[in-house]
Structure formats: C-alpha cells, structure tokens
C-alpha cells in the first residue's frame, strides 16, 4: 500500500532545512545582540560602581581610619575598634552590587564567545 507511494513533493528536505536555518540564525542573532548589550551595559556599570565605591570610601572616612595606625603605631592596641570603624564606613552594598555586575559581565562575555564560535551566521 503506502510502501509503493511515490508522489513525494520535491524539495521538502531543503525547504525544512532552509526554514530551520533561518529560525536558528534569527535565534543566534537575537542572542548575540542580547549578550553584547548585557556585556556593554555591565561594563559601564562596573566602571560607574567602582568610581562610586571610591567616592563612598573617601566620603565615609574609611581611608582616614586605615591611615591612622601609620601616624600613631600605639593605636594598634585598639585594633578591634579600628576594624569596626573601617567596617562601618566601608560601602559593602555597593561592593556587592559591583561584584554582581562583574559576574554578569563575565557570564555575558562567555556566552557571547560561545555564540561566536558556533557555526557561521548566514543572514
């Protein structure tokens, strides 16, 4: 019955391959744009936050607390209070956010690299 059927429409395989290649290229293109955008934005974010951290540290007086023992070595005996003062003035939240953005940057660059090393984009 069906074994003898021979009215197969020509070009079926090629049509499917073309259609899927097109969809795959579109998907790769969208991923490439997304990863590039994320990496650029996160790079900008890292620069901004590092600048912000330095500003925050200088405003909070953490640098002064760090430099105190260099002026007067006897202050070392109060090391616990000194460390607490530094910790209080240190912008931990901004530092955490910077680390998160740095992670995002590394992740997007890694994915972008994988995406670029895949088969050549034919758009």
């Amino acid at each position: 019955m069906i074994k003898d059927y021979n009215q197969i429409l020509p070009g079926l395989e090629q049509d499917i391959i073309k259609k899927i290649n097109k969809l795959e290229n579109n998907r790769l293109f969208v991923k490439r744009i997304t990863y590039s955008s994320v990496s650029l934005v996160s790079l900008f974010g890292i620069v901004q936050y590092i600048t912000y951290i330095f500003k925050a540290i200088s405003v909070s007086g953490a640098f002064e607390y760090v430099s105190l023992p260099f002026y007067d070595i006897s202050l070392i005996t109060y090391w616990k209070e000194l460390i607490l003062s530094i910790a209080e003035s240190f912008p931990f939240m901004e530092f955490g956010i910077t680390l998160f953005i740095a992670g995002l940057f590394i992740w997007s660059i890694k994915n972008l690299q994988v995406n670029l090393t895949m088969n050549k984009l034919n758009i």
Binding site: M1, I8, L9, L12, N21
Partner: protein, 193 residues
C-alpha cells in the same frame, strides 16, 4: 551521519553541530510526508504540516527524553499537528464517529474477530481502492492503519504515538482491518459484475 543513531544525532546537535539536525530531517522527512499526506490528502498541506512538525521538534529538542524513542516522539508531534490542522479546516471525521462518552461507534459496531491476514495492503492492484476506503474511516483509526502498514510500527509504538493503551490499539486495528476488507471485497465484487 547515516550511521549515527537518532540519540547520537540529537546529542551532537545539542553540542553545537548544526548539521546533525539535518541528519534527522533527512531520515524522517519522507516517511512523515507520506504519513501526513494520507491524513490530509493534499500535497501542499502535507508539506506544510511536516515543516511545522520539524520546527516544533527543533524548538523542543532540549526537552526530548533521550531514553525514549525519537521516532515515536516525532510521529506523535506530526500526528497532533496534522489533527490540529484538520480541526482548523473543520473536516475532521473522528468526532462524528465518537459518542458522548468519546467511544467510537464505527470500531465497536464491527465484530471483534480473530486476527486477520492483511494481504489486501500488500497487493498493488488494491492501492487505489484501499486509499479510497481509507478516506472513509475516522482519522484516529486511519492513523493506526497508516502507522501499522506505512511505517510498519509495532502496536506498542503506535500506542505511544496515539496515546492509547496497546490493547485498545490492537482491537481498533483488527476491527478497522475487518471493515476495510469487507468494503474492499464488496467493491471489488460490484466492479466485477
């Protein structure tokens, strides 16, 4: 590519080898086309359904359970795509054969006899007649007949594709075969007179 199994091709594709998916297309497009053509009776529509089915496979390939048969999976997707397509076209016939309890009167009205010889499907001179009679039966039974005779699937494989118990598939197959044979014999008898 031809020597690789379906699972090896899928793994290769998921590892980044885009050519591997073409191997799957090459392996299944023709048989899916034949299967779909028999369901919809239109070349262009069968072409579109097979293309759409492969796109669905491509989109869901990561979700495919590699411990299961790819063949039954792809036929399930194609069968559902074809049925959706026929529903949209609104000329699907299984609903008219089903009663309120979703039981099929066509299959149940035929006595459940001993397994029958299916030589009617093997004889070339019957092709046109078989096709004509096949178009008279409900779509769900037609799917079973095509998978059994076109793809030479086992009842277990067919049961997975149509998502029915194996015994139901066997029983529906036997009853449909009996009915088809009756129809064909009566037509042949009429033609010979």
């Amino acid at each position: 590519m031809k020597s690789l199994t379906d699972v090896q091709l899928i793994s290769s594709y998921l590892e980044g080898n885009r050519e591997a998916f073409n191997g799957l297309i090459n392996r299944y497009s023709q048989s899916l086309y034949k299967f779909t053509y028999y369901l919809v009776n239109n070349k262009e529509e069968a072409h579109d359904i097979v293309q759409e089915s492969f796109i669905k496979v491509w989109k869901n390939i990561k979700k495919f359970d590699q411990t299961k048969s790819f063949k039954t999976w792809i036929f399930t997707i194609t069968e559902r795509t074809a049925i959706d397509f026929l529903r949209k076209r609104k000329n699907i016939s299984f609903s008219s054969m089903d009663n309120d309890e979703s039981e099929n009167n066509f299959a149940q009205s035929v006595p459940d006899k001993e397994p029958m010889q299916d030589e009617i499907f093997e004889r070339n001179e019957n092709i046109e007649l078989v096709n004509e009679v096949l178009n008279m039966i409900p779509i769900d039974l037609k799917v079973i007949m095509i998978l059994r005779h076109g793809e030479e699937m086992t009842f277990e494989e067919i049961a997975k594709v149509v998502d029915k118990p194996v015994n139901t598939v066997k029983s529906q197959y036997r009853r449909t075969l009996f009915t088809l044979k009756e129809h064909i014999n009566s037509r042949m008898h009429r033609n010979s007179q």
